[in-house]
């Protein structure tokens, strides 16, 4: 992998990390409210996958870093967290609902597993349209126990759809350990009968990047679906209101020892790393400033985005 790419991955992981720090800080100051699912610790997966994959992306509520790595401006992501009009969803969506069809980024979904059937449908559309880049759907280990997931791997398999199922296995669904809800730790097992599966160290951005690239190659050749499982570890509670008491300090230490940013840093020129860090800090500062200064939505526009322009005409 060339230095430029390594630096790009490093930059985006750092940007993601500091973005989350900024979000957390502003949450505690009361500028942000509601749910806040921080991606701290899991940046390798978010950045590696977004940078490697060309096609459509569907993901979960823990999406800030993916949105940013996909190319959505940190200003509009931060402004969304502030609920402002310049937010990527104009303040309507919030932390869990960010979309950018121009970048083939389709959210952000707050229903565990709920976006998976949507991704499968989109993959069908792509196949129908003869677009070979396919669709990437990201979900957690917990989501692999719900009906929507199972139905989806079956449907993708029988229709040979161009879709990459990417399971972010951090071993927890909020406070419930995977061992309580699944007979095996590796969830790729569930997909084995339907499609090829791969496993990757989700704390290693280079590995993620390469595995996703390889998986996309498989899709582009028209082979149908593929499943990648990335073992990861989140550094924070499930959401900002989760006190994380179900994990021992020992477990947390082991977890943090795998910091993907630290891991990559070893391969980055020191000066470059330093200047990137400064750049990121400045950018986040600007983003927060931007979000603060952005306007609140106008109450008279409460219903504005419910329907298309034409649809609105029919609503009294």
């Amino acid at each position: 992998m060339d230095d430029e790419l390594l630096e790009d991955l490093y930059y985006y992981m750092l940007l993601g990390r500091y973005f989350e720090y900024g979000a957390k800080e502003n949450y505690l100051q009361g500028n942000i409210s509601g749910f806040l699912h921080l991606d701290i610790g899991q940046e390798a997966l978010s950045v590696g996958a977004m940078k490697a994959f060309e096609g459509d992306v569907f993901t979960t509520y823990r999406e800030h870093v993916m949105a940013i790595a996909r190319g959505i401006s940190i200003k509009s992501v931060m402004a969304e967290l502030f609920g402002k009009i310049d937010g990527v969803s104009k303040g309507r969506g919030g932390s869990m609902h960010m979309f950018s069809p121009e970048l083939n980024f389709y959210g952000g979904d707050a229903i565990v597993g709920g976006h998976i059937p949507n991704a499968v449908g989109c993959a069908y559309a792509r196949k129908y349209q003869g677009i070979d880049t396919g669709t990437l759907v990201v979900f957690g280990d917990g989501a692999t126990n719900c009906g929507a997931f199972f139905e989806s791997i079956n449907i993708a398999s029988v229709n040979k759809l161009p879709i990459l199922f990417l399971c972010e296995n951090n071993k927890y669904a909020i406070g419930t350990h995977i061992s309580k809800v699944s007979s095996f730790e590796k969830q790729a097992q569930k997909a084995k009968i339907y499609m090829p599966t791969m496993e990757v160290d989700g704390m290693d951005v280079v590995a993620v990047y390469e595995t996703v690239t390889q998986a996309q190659g498989y899709i582009k050749e028209g082979n149908g679906p593929i499943f990648v499982e990335a073992m990861t570890c989140r550094f924070e509670g499930h959401s900002i209101s989760d006190s994380n008491q179900y994990r021992s300090s020992q477990e947390m230490e082991l977890c943090k020892a795998q910091d993907p940013i630290e891991k990559l840093k070893a391969h980055i020129n020191k000066d470059v790393a330093k200047s990137l860090e400064q750049k990121v800090i400045n950018e986040i500062e600007m983003a927060v400033k931007f979000a603060k200064e952005s306007e609140e939505p106008d109450i008279k526009d409460l219903k504005k985005y419910m329907y298309t322009q034409e649809g609105l005409k029919h609503v009294i």
Binding site: P117, Y124, Y128, H314
Partner: protein, 325 residues
């Protein structure tokens, strides 16, 4: 043309025009649909555009949403509304909310069709009406048409719209026959004035509309009055303007529907009417509904659970007498 033929024609004409339209559902391809609505379309449009799905309602709707996100214009069929319960998460949390949550960045040009209602002895799990629930969801357009002409025009409109539409049919209407010209100018968002009258506004939709119409003469004769009968057609949004005009004229309002009384769709209509038009009303409104009971298999119990022409007549006449008619 039969009701089901009108639906078939609407889909056929639209599919011919636009290759982004995809049809999916259980048995819609090979079998041509349980109620024969999609008959012949597989042969015409091929198996890339007419898809038999697994029995997985959550995914059927969820895949349809994804296809729409991906730029297609899916028409999704659920075999009956009873199974739509399995897809409520996709219908409500996704189909109805994605456009709004994305500030209109996501468009969902899709139609979700499903028949509902008490047919004949299909048992409690196959006899429900869910328009009360489905019409209460902001973000969805909901049609429920009772005539072949409206079936044709409303379904075409639904397919052409760029917003998500629910299209509710009734299992006992598929063989209803009506002649009409394909060149009529029908706006399915407008309630259909089935019969003009001056003394009672009777509102209905789907099969109950026909059942009411079948006894309206007798009601008028018995009460010596004239009834105005309105077919809602669009359940959300409601054409309140037409209702208001009629109720102001007649000063009396009745709604006839098949669903259970508790939390029925008609409760919304009656509640709106009295909030808005209380001082124009000369009598207590009347709401004829199904009973609050699961639908039994036995035919007598089944019929005792819903309005029938006989009970509609009986109940409106009884009420009319009490209401100064």
């Amino acid at each position: 043309m039969l009701y089901r033929e009108a639906l078939n024609l609407a889909i056929d004409e639209e599919m011919k025009e636009d290759k982004d339209i995809i049809l999916l559902g259980e048995d819609v391809a090979g079998v041509g649909g349980t109620f024969r609505v999609t008959e012949g379309l597989l042969a015409k449009y091929g198996d890339k555009r007419v898809l038999d799905t697994p029995i997985a309602e959550l995914s059927i709707v969820g895949n349809g949403i994804g296809m729409a996100i991906g730029g297609l214009r899916p028409i999704v069929e659920l075999m009956t509304a009873n199974f739509s319960l399995l897809a409520f998460d996709q219908i409500i949390n996704h189909m109805s909310k994605l456009p709004y949550m994305s500030a209109s960045k996501i468009k969902l040009p899709m139609v979700l069709r499903m028949p509902q209602g008490v047919s004949k002895q299909l048992g409690a799990q196959h006899s429900e009406n869910y328009e009360n629930m489905l019409s209460s969801v902001p973000g969805l357009f909901v049609f429920a048409v009772s005539s072949p002409a409206y079936a044709y025009f409303a379904l075409k409109k639904s397919i052409q719209m760029d917003d998500p539409v629910l299209f509710i049919e009734h299992e006992l209407l598929y063989n209803k026959k009506e002649d009409f010209s394909l060149n009529e100018d029908i706006d399915p968002f407008k309630a259909r004035l089935v019969k003009e009258g001056t003394d009672i506004t009777i509102i209905s939709y789907l099969k109950m509309l026909d059942d009411t119409l079948s006894v309206i003469d007798e009601i008028e004769k018995e009460l010596k009055c004239s009834c105005e009968l309105i077919d809602l057609c669009s359940l959300n949004p409601v054409d309140y303007a037409s209702l208001e005009k009629s109720i102001k004229k007649t000063s009396r309002v009745v709604i006839v529907e098949e669903g259970h009384r508790m939390g029925s769709y008609g409760a919304q209509i009656i509640s709106w009417a009295v909030e808005k038009l209380f001082y124009s009303l000369d009598a207590a409104p009347l709401r004829l509904c199904g009973e609050n009971v699961p639908i039994a298999y036995n035919r007598k119990l089944e019929l005792a659970s819903i309005p029938t022409p006989d009970t509609i007549k009986r109940d409106i006449i009884f009420w009319g007498r009490q209401s100064g008619l």
